[in-house]
């Protein structure tokens, strides 16, 4: 190897890197390590994992490509990046399915060893892209990653198969060098992870260092990039995915309310991980129940809620559809219940691994009868934690099912999360009924308090025996009633109670300009790209504000004033305009919509472009 020559370092505020290879190539691991290192280094980070729908698609095929994208920055960031600055393509299929996202002039590191005839065919290339001008727009680095890795790990004596498995660490090493990152976090991780298999630890270490050295010494790379530390709020941070944060949020809510957590669920992508996470928290008195189907899952939670647990159920679109009848029972019986919908692309089975926001109508309006319930949407992976707590508070204090919306993107991508101070979290005060509330006779299970909420009287409490069910019930006594006016009254009482939740939610602050030309509204996972685009616009002096709605029902009580403060309104959603219809209908306001229903998040550019068009009066 030639001696290392010092290379020039170019400073950039942020960069987006994507590792792409076969599902067997360990790309998720490489990406996660890069994320950790960058986060610990002090950047703000946002990631986007992208794995195949199939468990193990045949090696080398397009269906089998697995990718992991990291956006890291010295500024506040909210998205994993629109386009990729550096792409690592471990085989022809990875190149084929990822190339379109690489910026012009971007860095393209290719593992040439895998560009065999057979692999090119598997990836459906009709020619070898390394020849000809397919890649002329990029800065291409052809590296024999497989061969280098094998050589590097030779000293460990590992077999060919295991040796070649280390090539993700080689690639990672190269990229560490390229972005001038320290190796120690990953080295530490390797030692810990493989403490029982030293030769593997050794091999991965060797590969990592070899990749790094290659960057350092080879003639190939002419420049190194530096992304300096971001100025993030002080605190302890960790990376967290949405599903992890949601699971921890549920545990926290159970603690804060001093209730056991019951989670009834049936596996479904991309919600299953919540069940998996929670099932390992048994020492928190978490009772997970893998039901026989989604209907049993929600019904078990309703039963647990009746019994006094903090009861939750989670699923994705098709499973939520199945739960709707039972959710109606929860609304009629006014029991606390959390329903988590990790949205995925539909309709029907759709694209199970891809995110969308197309379940808003379903959760708000998709039940028989007049059946309103509060709905809150998490805005980022870490935000899932506080969303779960907030939703639990509302469910128990207002005695109502509450829907928590997440999506496949929030669920699986991670961001550095400032760990909250546990002692600072507000308790959820729950007072179960223990005494008869009716001096004149039997306990009144539907006597309401100032919130409009009925008492949560638990079986096991002497003297409060009562019966509930899905038939229309008499005000106060809860007995079955077919009285027309009582029926209507109860519909209004339940709706009023849900509307009252707005008191707990409070007004929603506008980011950027408090009034002006354009208000951009987002909800759920569209927060990131919209916030970024609006921040850029505000920086550029444009008259734009951003309103992010966490609660979709009830809407903030000050929304009319906010809407009135802007000339125009744009609502960005990963659907065909579901919130848009509701806002237009409710406020009689000609709000425009930016829609994308492709099973992938907005890019910042897409939002910015539409904003600019509206500001310029062209749309």
């Amino acid at each position: 190897m030639p001696a290392a020559t010092p290379k020039p370092t170019e400073s950039v505020t942020s960069a987006t890197v994507r590792f792409a290879g076969d599902s067997g190539d360990g790309m998720q691991l490489a990406g996660t390590q890069f994320t950790h290192t960058s986060a610990i280094f002090g950047n703000d980070v946002s990631t986007l994992p992208d794995f195949p729908a199939e468990i193990r698609a045949p090696a080398g095929t397009l269906a089998g490509v697995s990718g992991f994208q990291i956006n890291f920055s010295s500024r506040d960031i909210h998205t994993p990046g629109d386009r990729v600055d550096a792409l690592i393509a471990m085989n022809p299929a990875a190149l084929k399915s990822n190339l379109a996202d690489l910026v012009e002039g971007g860095i393209l590191i290719i593992n040439v060893d895998e560009f065999t005839e057979a692999n090119l065919k598997r990836a459906k290339w009709d020619h070898n892209p390394l020849e000809g001008d397919t890649l002329h727009a990029y800065r291409v680095y052809e590296v024999p990653i497989t061969r280098h890795t094998m050589e590097a790990v030779k000293p460990t004596g590992l077999g060919a198969k295991e040796a070649s498995r280390c090539k993700n660490f080689y690639a990672l090493g190269m990229v560490f060098w390229l972005y001038d990152r320290p190796l120690d976090t990953t080295l530490g991780w390797i030692d810990k992870k493989f403490s029982r298999r030293e030769e593997i630890a050794e091999a991965n270490t060797l590969a990592l260092r070899a990749g790094y050295s290659f960057g350092d010494t080879a003639e190939m790379f002419s420049v190194q990039y530096a992304v300096t530390r971001a100025t993030l709020p002080a605190g302890t941070y960790r990376n967290v995915t949405g599903n992890q944060a949601l699971a921890m949020g549920l545990v926290a809510a159970a603690r804060l309310s001093d209730r056991p957590l019951f989670y009834g669920s049936y596996p479904i992508t991309p919600a299953s991980d919540i069940l998996h996470e929670l099932s390992s928290y048994k020492h928190f008195d978490v009772r997970t129940f893998q039901a026989e189907d989604e209907i049993a899952a929600v019904c078990s939670a309703i039963g647990a809620g009746f019994g006094g647990a903090l009861a939750a159920t989670g699923s994705s679109g098709p499973g939520i559809a199945l739960k709707q009848e039972a959710i109606g029972l929860g609304v009629m019986t006014e029991l606390p219940l959390l329903i988590i919908d990790v949205q995925r692309a539909g309709p029907s089975t759709g694209m199970p691994t891809k995110p969308e926001q197309t379940d808003l109508w379903q959760v708000l309006l998709g039940r028989n009868g007049e059946c309103p319930l509060p709905v809150v949407a998490a805005q980022s992976p870490g935000d899932c934690f506080r969303t779960a707590i907030e939703a639990a508070r509302v469910a128990m204090q207002y005695m109502t099912p509450v829907v928590i919306l997440s999506d496949g993107f929030l669920a699986n991508s991670s961001e550095p999360w400032k760990i909250p101070d546990v002692d600072g979290l507000e308790k959820i005060e729950i007072r179960h009924a223990v005494e008869n509330n009716n001096p004149d006779g039997n306990f009144l299970p539907y006597l309401r308090n100032e919130r409009g909420s009925r008492p949560w009287a638990l079986p096991g409490t002497p003297g409060l025996e009562h019966r509930i069910g899905g038939l229309s019930k008499d005000d106060r006594t809860g007995n079955v009633s077919y009285d027309p006016l009582n029926h209507e009254k109860m519909i209004h009482l339940r709706a009023g109670k849900v509307a009252n939740v707005a008191d707990s939610v409070g007004p929603q602050p506008v980011f950027g300009e408090p009034h002006g030309k354009l208000l951009v509204i987002s909800w759920g996972g569209t927060y990131g790209p919209v916030r970024t685009a609006v921040a850029d616009a505000v920086d550029a002096g444009k008259s734009v504000g951003h309103l992010h709605l966490r609660w979709l029902n009830p809407l903030p009580s000050d929304l009319t004033e906010v809407l009135d403060s802007f000339e125009r309104v744009l609502i960005c959603e990963m659907n065909s305009g579901q919130l848009q219809l509701l806002i237009r209908g409710r406020y009689c306001l000609d709000a425009a919509g930016l829609h994308k229903v492709q099973g992938r998040p907005f890019t910042v550019a897409e939002v910015a472009e539409r904003m600019d068009a509206m500001l310029e009066g062209q749309a």
Binding site: T236, A291, D293, A296, I302
Partner: protein, 334 residues
């Protein structure tokens, strides 16, 4: 609460009963209230859960906690409740449509899990509440509103379904046979694990006399055989007939003429194959067994859940929220 022993009346709620006059459900309700009193059940620790159907109105009439849920889903609600609150005494009331049609899947899974609840399936071989369509237990050729030329589907035998679902306790009794029914309810109440009890119930309006052969005083002795653990299967008004086993084939024999009690099949509640065989004794070819077909104790689901939680706490210590959210790699920004 009350120091005085409760009476059946204490278990009557203040709700007006809304079953048709003559409905078999009345008899069952009465026995249940009696049994509750006999067992000195605590009203506040007792919960009746049900689905939808005439039978599923049962909880409204019991002065305990109650939950009239939605069609077919009672088993799931009861399971969640029992897992959340193992100390409660949970009863599930369901019908042949509620439990075996829309709710069949839930019933199967509840029984295999062996959640410690008591399931009473009121079998009237008809959909009562929706005014008379055939049900999963209706005989082939049944003419109903939805099958004017007769139904085509072979009926399900609820007890066979229970056995195939690995139910730990499987029994059968009859609405109008109060004494035997009380015994069965008490056996079910005492059993730890899912106790599944089929109750032949007369729908007076849409399927009157469906169980005539088993309830008519004049003929029932010939058509019913009461099974008891360790006892030979004897039946008949004169108690002169019995069931004998030829290999795997049951046969009716008359006692006397060289045929003695020793030649008869002896009931064994612990033998699942025998239980299965007994479920296949059907009128008119055989007298139909009533009693406990099968009873074997095995771990209850909600207990095992609690044990895993205890074990996890033992091993990891009581969960520490701070530690949990600080898990994984962390770093400090100053």
């Amino acid at each position: 609460m009350t120091a005085v022993a409760p009476t059946a009346k204490d278990f009557k709620s203040d709700q007006e009963i809304r079953w048709c006059p003559g409905c078999g459900d009345y008899a069952i309700l009465k026995q249940m209230q009696k049994v509750m009193a006999d067992l000195k059940a605590e009203r506040h620790n007792t919960v009746f859960v049900s689905g939808i159907g005439c039978s599923s109105r049962f909880p409204y009439y019991m002065n305990t906690y109650g939950f009239h849920t939605i069609h077919g889903r009672g088993p799931a609600v009861a399971t969640g409740l029992k897992v959340a609150r193992p100390e409660l005494d949970v009863w599930l009331i369901t019908g042949d449509g509620d439990g075996l049609s829309i709710g069949a899947g839930h019933l199967v899974h509840t029984m295999r899990r062996n959640v410690d609840i008591n399931i009473l399936l009121f079998n009237n071989r008809i959909y009562g509440l929706t005014k008379g369509q055939y049900s999963p237990t209706s005989e082939v050729g049944k003419k109903t509103k939805s099958t004017p030329m007769g139904s085509l589907d072979t009926p399900i035998n609820p007890l066979q379904v229970a056995l195939a679902s690995e139910a730990a306790f499987v029994g059968r009794c009859i609405d109008v046979d109060g004494k035997h029914q009380q015994e069965m309810l008490k056996r079910a109440a005492a059993f730890r694990g899912t106790a599944f009890l089929e109750i032949y119930q007369d729908c007076n309006v849409y399927n009157h006399m469906a169980w005539e052969y088993a309830t008519d005083r004049k003929i029932k002795a010939e058509n019913i055989v009461v099974i008891e653990h360790g006892q030979p299967l004897i039946f008949g008004a004169e108690r002169n007939k019995g069931i004998h086993l030829d290999g795997l084939k049951p046969r009716i024999v008359e006692l006397g003429n060289g045929v003695g009690v020793d030649d008869l099949l002896v009931h064994d509640e612990t033998d699942a194959t025998l239980a299965y065989l007994l479920t296949q004794l059907r009128y008119p070819d055989f007298p139909e067994p009533v009693g406990v077909f099968h009873a074997v104790e095995r771990p209850c689901y909600e207990k095992a859940v609690a044990e895993q939680i205890a074990a996890a706490r033992e091993k990891k210590g009581e969960g520490d929220l701070k530690a949990l959210i600080h898990g994984g790699d962390t770093w400090i920004v100053e």
